[in-house]
């Protein structure tokens, strides 16, 4: 009978943390972590102590003080007697506006340019190449300044229009005026958050229009689904376009008439045009520059995405008798989207962060209000920059989350 002796149970000794390869990496990581936390704590502590010595302890009380300055481009009501928090909030909205407008325009231009760059038409493809190389190889700040200079210097002074019949759209060197939608029997506004700094008025007219539009689209989809069912059963697809068009247009039209919808045209009064929607040159220049710049990157991403789809797919689609543009929209682009979306996210984030260059043209985004005038008037650099960082982080993470969710939805389902 042979006795099997268990291998001696190894006792854990402290020295094994260093000499045993199983534990060593963990030990090093723990020590490094401690070191890192100590360094961070020292930095924070040192900053707080030094600020206290300077007599400027960290405090966010300044946000409740009167701002005292004016903001030109704004979405909500604001007055120079409002608080710094309100000014920061309006700046944040301006940032979101430019980010949203920029992302939409950049995507449209980018996809178009990306597809055209692959065109078999030599001239079109070359022009797109030049565009892409021009824009993505020059810093965006220069583009912003250049486009702003062009917009400002090449457009006429408002006084040129004195005594001239102006139409619905007026272009001046202070901005472009578009007709504004007005409602003579308006439903009024809902006031959210009372009279606090974050008060937010939403037009009930807008809500009504959106609700009606949503219902119309829902009804239209139902009609299409019914047509699909009939087609499956009988093989004959009923003509639906006229009912669908009616469902989409008629309710909206009757709502607009009920609300007394009309357009307000800009009119020259005194120094400037009054009325209408005023898109300031700073907004236009920033929007154009950011979208064209980011579109150059998106174009390359789209091109890469399309090239990543094997040629066999195109050939198979042609073999099935699909025309080239049907092939692109039904076969290639849906597959290419899987490659395109992840890098597209980072470009959206870049555009949003680049919008902080707005101060170069005097567009009052959050960097201009909170990180500019407020910071300067109150001298609260640390607090303002911390808040700015937090805001940009939150915006970026939100964009990221939304796009990741979309990416999950379109990515290849492996079963």
């Amino acid at each position: 009978m042979s006795t099997l002796t268990d291998p001696p149970k190894e006792q854990f000794r402290l020295s094994m943390l260093l000499y045993d390869t199983r534990y060593r990496s963990a030990t090093i990581q723990v020590i490094a972590m401690f070191g890192f936390m100590l360094l961070a704590a020292w930095l924070i502590n040192n900053t707080i102590i030094n600020l206290n010595t300077l007599g400027k302890p960290v405090s966010f009380g300044f946000l409740g003080e009167t701002a005292g300055y004016d903001i030109n481009q704004r979405l909500l009501d604001y007055d120079n007697q409002d608080t710094h928090l309100r000014a920061a909030f309006l700046g944040l909205l301006n940032t979101l506006v430019i980010a949203f407008m920029g992302c939409v325009a950049a995507t449209i231009v980018g996809v178009l340019v990306g597809v055209l760059r692959l065109s078999s038409n030599w001239l079109v493809a070359r022009i797109m190449t030049v565009y892409v190389e021009m824009f993505r190889n020059i810093p965006v700040l220069l583009w912003i300044v250049l486009i702003f200079a062009i917009v400002t210097e090449s457009t006429p002074h408002p006084k040129v229009y004195r005594g001239v019949e102006t139409g619905a759209v007026v272009v001046t060197n202070r901005g472009t005026y578009l007709p504004e939608p007005l409602f003579s029997r308006s439903l009024g506004d809902v006031h959210l958050f009372g009279s606090s700094s974050l008060r937010f008025d939403i037009s009930l007219d807008l809500i009504a229009i959106l609700v009606v539009l949503g219902l119309s689209i829902f009804a239209s989809i139902k009609i299409r689904q019914r047509a699909d069912r009939i087609q499956e059963v009988t093989g004959v697809r009923p003509r639906t376009w006229h009912t669908r068009a009616a469902v989409l247009i008629l309710p909206l039209l009757s709502l607009l008439i009920a609300l007394g919808f009309h357009l307000g045209y800009p009119e020259l009064k005194g120094f400037n045009f009054q009325g209408g929607t005023h898109l300031r040159n700073s907004l236009l220049a920033l929007w154009l520059a950011l979208s064209l710049y980011t579109a150059a990157f998106i174009a390359e991403i789209v091109r890469a995405g399309i090239l990543a789809i094997s040629k066999g797919q195109t050939e198979a689609a042609s073999a099935l008798g699909l025309r080239p543009n049907k092939t692109m929209s039904l076969v290639i682009l849906p597959q290419a989207l899987r490659v395109i979306i992840p890098p597209l996210i980072s470009n959206y984030l870049n555009l949003t962060k680049n919008s902080s260059l707005a101060i170069a043209v005097g567009y009052m985004d959050i960097t201009g209000t909170l990180g500019g005038i407020t910071m300067n008037q109150t001298g609260r650099e640390l607090e303002c920059v911390l808040m700015l960082m937090l805001v940009y982080l939150a915006i970026s993470l939100t964009i990221s989350a939304v796009m990741n969710w979309y990416n999950e939805a379109v990515k290849l389902k492996e079963r």
Binding site: T47, N50, Y69, N173, N272, G372, I373, G379, E381
Partner: protein, 338 residues
Amino acid sequence: MKKSVILGAMTFAGLAAGAASAGTLDDVKARGKLNCGVTTGLVGFAAPNANGEWEGFDVAVCRAVAAAVLGDSTAVEFVPTTGKTRFTALASGEIDMLARNTTWTFSRDVDLKFEFTGINYYDGQGFMVPKELGVSSAKELDGATVCIQTGTTTELNLADFFRSNNISYEPVPIETNAEAQQQYLAGACDVYTTDASGLAATRATFDDPSAHVLLPEIISKEPLGPLVRHGDNEWGDVVRWSLNALIAAEELGITSANLNDMAAGTDNPEINRLLGTEGTLGEMLGLSADWAKNAIAAGGNYGEIFAKNIGEDTPIGLARGLNAQWTEGGLLYAPPFR
């Protein structure tokens, strides 16, 4: 880029503020160079000339301080700052003093923790408009587009002025004087508002200065002066008394022409104390005995500096007005050197 400079300056502010708050005088002496914050370019006050040398009314203050401390009026590193970056640059220790036509206000002095060391120009905020606009008073500017430098007291005064007169305006925020000038000339704004001296200086650089008028309203008090960090009183004293030396020199009749004769000794004890032939004023400041002589030698007395840079014989053409000596009906009044 500007933002990274701000951020960098701020990290630096957090880390270095403690170290920078004391002993600036020793730091400057050890460095052999004065770091002086000035504007990014406002002709007459601070702008590089054709040879790339900084000159102007504010620059002269920097040079006088450098001459008093180091005996060399060229030992200055000029750091251009915008309305927005200037305070961070000073608080962080990037610059030793700021001479950037900065208005002395309560909150800057008390809340922002700076120390104004005197007033070198008594100013007020004014408006400039093209003559063809036909405007004769700022109260007619209802609905006008106004170019304004952000991060300045003028921005707040502007809001107050239009508010109290119950008229509206559209602000066009701008970072530097040069940008404002370009926007104003391009007609992107109807009005440019800043300190009246700055308007005069800007107008002097136009192709046709006579096509633009300054409106009669002066809507604020803007006492402009050099400033240092709060809490370093020795350094504050050096800057304060260097400026006072320039002002006193004019009052006492010391000019760059007769400086050397005066420094040999005069019958006036105050001149002797100022120029170091009598008493130990320099030693009390921690400077050499001839500190004030050096400061005056750098660019002349206050009156000479004024006349050379912004006076009536220059394109800027500012009258002494409030900035005359108290003996001539102005506000300049240097405390006695005793």
